[in-house]
């Protein structure tokens, strides 16, 4: 008997739109590739810092910023491929315990920029379990709109560090460069 795997129903840009509807003065870091285009298309804001290189460095960049600005909330939006290259950085975050820090992975289980090859998450590697294992206060995989609503509240207000692996459909959204 095999375990039933939920079907992915969430689309990435509506997910980013939903999360950023509540945005106020938060500081954003985006990981290279689609998360940068997603955030630029939804909320191209002066408090965004977009990476288009340095793969594996989004969470670490967010951590340095969160440590420098403990009074501000710092959100990192990145993809599963970028996150997998920087898994160790989750342990580094957990050691620092920044209470103002949230990581959101838009996980389509693919390397979207290079031909949609499968990432490790397509084979069952569970990023939220990794985050929980290293010591994030909250770490969950998000499959549904209800789960996303609850996560959105926590992203802005829960005691960090918090981590959400949002399962999103594979889609071919237009590339939107930041202004």
């Amino acid at each position: 008997m095999s375990i039933a795997i939920p079907k992915i129903t969430l689309a990435r840009r509506p997910v980013v739109t939903k999360i950023l509807e509540s945005r106020k003065d938060e500081l954003l870091i985006t990981g290279l590739g689609a998360p940068t285009w997603d955030v630029a298309s939804v909320s191209d804001h002066q408090n965004n810092f977009y990476l288009w290189g340095g793969m594996g460095g989004a969470v670490s960049t967010g951590l340095g910023l969160a440590l420098a600005k403990p009074e501000r909330r710092v959100l990192v939006f990145t993809g599963d491929g970028e996150m997998l290259m920087g898994l160790g950085s989750l342990a580094t975050v957990a050691v620092q315990k920044p209470k103002n820090f949230a990581v959101i992975v838009l996980d389509n289980e693919r390397y979207g920029e290079t031909g949609m090859q499968k990432t490790a998450t397509a084979s069952g590697v569970d990023l939220s379990l990794v985050a929980r294992g290293v010591g994030f206060h909250i770490a969950r995989t998000i499959w549904t709109l209800d789960e996303l609503s609850e996560a959105t509240n926590e992203i802005y207000s829960a005691h960090g560090p918090v981590f959400y692996d949002v399962k999103v459909q594979r889609s071919d959204d237009p590339m939107v460069l930041p202004e």
Binding site: S60, L65, L67, A68
Partner: protein, 173 residues
């Protein structure tokens, strides 16, 4: 590493005077004393890393938040940071790295030699200014100079502390 106490204390003072607020590191025996000084000082956030490349990204984020930082590592760690240097290079973030060298002066571990010999070439290929401190008495003033180049000159700078200045590693300690 008793022989490293003196330069470590001086370099710590240089970092404090430069208002460095975040010190990231992957430990090296040569950095032992300096790391301890940073850990014991509340005004500096000390960030142990799982890989040196995290430190490059971390210090970029720190700079975005208005804080200066420094990355302490061994020469072998330089190999782990090369692509991540694209970020400070492209963004003109200041970057101060203090590298304790292996794989050169009287090295006994052959596995340390390839990266040790490639450190200067690879850093320069990525646009990093490389300053060498070949003797212990030159270390703190070299870090001070590197700090100005980094934070006032807006450049990526690495100080390579020679194995000759550190003394040969003694495995009995």
């Amino acid at each position: 590493m008793v022989e490293s106490v003196s330069w470590s204390d001086k370099v710590f003072s240089v970092l404090c005077e430069a208002e460095v607020k975040q010190v990231a590191y992957v430990p090296d025996a040569g950095h032992q004393r300096l790391i301890k000084l940073c850990i014991d000082y509340n005004e500096i956030k000390h960030v142990p890393l799982t890989s040196e490349q995290e430190g490059i990204a971390l210090l970029g984020g720190a700079w975005l938040g208005g804080e200066r930082g420094a990355l302490l590592m061994q020469s072998s760690g330089v190999g782990n940071v090369i692509n991540m240097l694209s970020v400070p290079n492209e963004c003109r973030f200041p970057l101060l790295m203090i590298v304790t060298m292996r794989g050169e002066w009287a090295e006994f571990n052959p596995w340390q030699i390839p990266m040790g010999q490639a450190v200067e070439t690879t850093l320069k290929a990525m646009g990093v200014i490389v300053l060498r401190a070949a003797e212990e008495c030159l270390i703190s003033e070299t870090v001070s100079s590197a700090s100005k180049l980094a934070f006032e000159g807006g450049r990526m700078v690495a100080v390579l502390i020679s194995q000759r200045a550190l003394g040969q590693k003694d495995w009995n300690k």
